[in-house]
């Protein structure tokens, strides 16, 4: 790269390059990123990766041990466990992604309004948030499932709603501190419209916090989906989901413990990967931490 090209990089691009390098210096974070990537790819290309379909039964091979034919063995209906774990990643990734997006979609506008406008808007929003937070997350999800009926969609909605209040508080806090920044005060003094200020000054500076929060919420949503499906409130059998697989494994803990080991391992690794990624991002993006 010639000298001229390097110098022509915009400040934003240079900053991204710097952050990228800082990130790559953290092996744990990189490992997390790679594993996350693997899971996402698995979810998207599941039909290609899985040797069997998720519902293919073989009554001759019930609860079979791992073998050349079945990498992780079969379950109580003769279905290939490995394939079902692969297909199960779809429910988890979907829940993780969409619950987080939903939480963001709800929380960011509301948090912005609360932090920016103050006045009467702020206390009202805080009270409403408190009401939602008054219900322990799982009780809330369970109650929603009772009203809406059990399904992956409703579980995702419940998870999104559960994560929103915490996010509202964080968004609000970010706006509150950003408001005090000089350039924002200047923009307000210059008479810019609310929307412009929010859109051009405040929101872009929140992105790093929001990104980090996303990596916190996604693993919670993944585990949350498995919990709800385990309890029968999320994905309905026979659709594979790691939580559903754990639920069906319960009667067979003595005959075939592996039915419970593999799906749970998948959940743990996925959540761990996102957490490592999140930790890494937080270290890199948050100017306050010095490690």
């Amino acid at each position: 790269m010639s000298y001229v090209e390097v110098a022509s990089l915009s400040p934003a691009a240079r900053r991204r390059r710097l952050l990228g390098r800082r990130f790559l210096r953290r092996p744990m974070a990189v490992a997390g990123l790679i594993v996350v990537f693997v899971f996402v790819v698995t979810a998207i290309f599941a039909p290609v990766i899985a040797p069997y379909s998720a519902s293919h039964t073989d009554f001759q091979a019930i609860l079979a041990h791992p073998s050349g034919q079945h990498l992780l063995g079969t379950d109580e209906l003769g279905r290939d466990i490995f394939s079902r774990v692969v297909y199960g990643s779809r429910a988890s990734m979907q829940a993780g992604l969409f619950a987080t997006l939903l939480a963001m979609a709800i929380a960011v506008p509301i948090g912005l309004a609360a932090g920016y406008y103050r006045g009467w808007v702020d206390p009202v929003i805080s009270r409403v948030t408190d009401v939602i937070l008054a219900f322990p997350f799982l009780i809330l999800a369970v109650g929603l499932a009772a009203i809406l009926g059990p399904s992956l969609l409703n579980a995702t909605i419940a998870l999104g709603f559960g994560a929103a209040p915490g996010l509202i508080r964080i968004a609000r806090g970010e706006v509150l501190s950003l408001r005090e920044e000089d350039y924002v005060r200047a923009a307000i003094a210059n008479g810019g419209s609310d929307l412009t200020i929010l859109g051009r000054h405040i929101l872009p500076n929140m992105t790093s916090t929001l990104l980090v929060q996303a990596t916190v919420i996604i693993p919670i949503a993944i585990v949350g989906e498995s919990v709800l499906s385990f309890l029968g409130l999320g994905v309905q059998p026979p659709t594979p989901s790691w939580g559903v697989m754990l639920a069906s494994a319960q009667p067979f803990l003595d005959q075939a413990p592996r039915l419970a080991v593999y799906p749970g391992l998948a959940i743990a690794i996925a959540a761990l990967a996102f957490n490592l990624l999140g930790d890494g991002l937080r270290d890199v993006l948050d100017p306050r931490t010095q490690r």
Partner: protein
């Protein structure tokens, strides 16, 4: 101080009131005929009309809410699908969940505090990274999976502990603890991971504070420095974290009770939902919300007692 408490209690009551409205409206929001929902599988139109009258579903919704609230305040949460009083069922189930939560709190806090102190004191050394790693795993691993693994190991393979069930403390304390051990560990691990991280960072902050450097400069032993000063201040922060985790404990109890077949509050909730027992669902959700609000209120007040700064400014100092 009095004004502060009053404000906090007032806020909590408002929240509780709104929560009750949400619960009530939620049940009525279920698509379909409410009489059908409340009456089980009754089909004949005459019986449905009778049920509608019995539950007062023909009255305006505000009247219905008022009646329900009035009864609820007197401790009458109606009868469930078994014709058993909801309030009594909930009150009988709560002690088990409270015992489970209490034991988990104990185990989780103990492990978390000890691990956090060790990690902070041995900062930078391998045991720090190890503790951090374990804490991270503890945060990521789904607890009910951990429960299943423990059942496989300790109940099925080794036969050391029972795979589930409950024996009341009064009947046999030893058996009670044997049945509670695995559930409490399962529920406590999540808490311990959070506590450990919090404890570690609080300790690091305290250890770096000026008065600690002064203490060290004065020649006080490391143990006194760590134990007497840093630890005490960190515990305050950690206490509030533990308090805030109580909500997560209640959520976790739902799953743990399901896996270990403990007929506590959590199991009751799941069963009520699966059976579409709406009277019970209403009661359970309301009690859960009320409990949560009360606990948060208590923690808030405790924190303000321990940390005078927030009383004045209203914000964490």
């Amino acid at each position: 101080m009095g004004g502060f408490i009053l404000r906090r209690v007032g806020a909590a009551l408002v929240v509780l009131f709104l929560a009750s409205v949400v619960v009530f409206a939620g049940i009525r929001a279920i698509p379909g005929d409410a009489a059908l929902a409340l009456g089980g599988e009754e089909r004949s139109p005459e019986v449905l009309a009778q049920l509608r009258h019995k539950y007062g579903l023909d009255d305006p919704i505000v009247v219905q809410y008022g009646r329900w609230l009035w009864l609820a305040l007197h401790g009458d949460l109606g009868s469930d699908s078994r014709e058993l009083p909801v309030a009594h069922t909930i009150v009988s189930a709560l002690p088990r969940t409270l015992e489970l939560a209490g034991l988990s709190l104990l185990i989780g806090s103990l492990i978390g505090i000890v691990a956090g102190v060790v990690a902070a004191v041995r900062r930078g050394k391998p045991s720090d990274y190890l503790s951090n790693g374990i804490a991270l795993i503890g945060l990521s691993v789904p607890h009910f999976w951990l429960g299943l693994l423990m059942i496989i190991a300790f109940a099925v393979k080794l036969h050391w502990l029972p795979s589930g069930g409950y024996v009341p403390l009064r009947v046999d304390p030893v058996e009670n603890l044997r049945h509670m051990l695995m559930p409490a560990i399962v529920l406590g691990t999540g808490l311990s991971a959070v506590v450990m991280r919090q404890m570690r960072s609080a300790m690091l902050e305290s250890l770096g504070a000026d008065y600690i450097r002064t203490a060290r400069a004065k020649g006080l032993s490391e143990w006194t420095v760590v134990g007497r000063h840093a630890l005490r201040n960190s515990l305050i922060t950690v206490t509030t974290v533990i308090g805030l985790q109580l909500g997560a404990l209640i959520s976790g109890a739902v799953i743990t009770e399901t896996i270990f077949q403990i007929a506590g509050f959590g199991r009751l909730t799941i069963d009520a939902v699966n059976q579409r027992d709406y009277a019970l669902i209403q009661g359970v959700v309301l009690v859960a919300a009320a409990g949560y609000v009360i606990v948060n209120l208590t923690v808030d007040l405790l924190y303000s007692v321990l940390n005078p700064r927030i009383r004045i400014s209203g914000r964490p100092g």
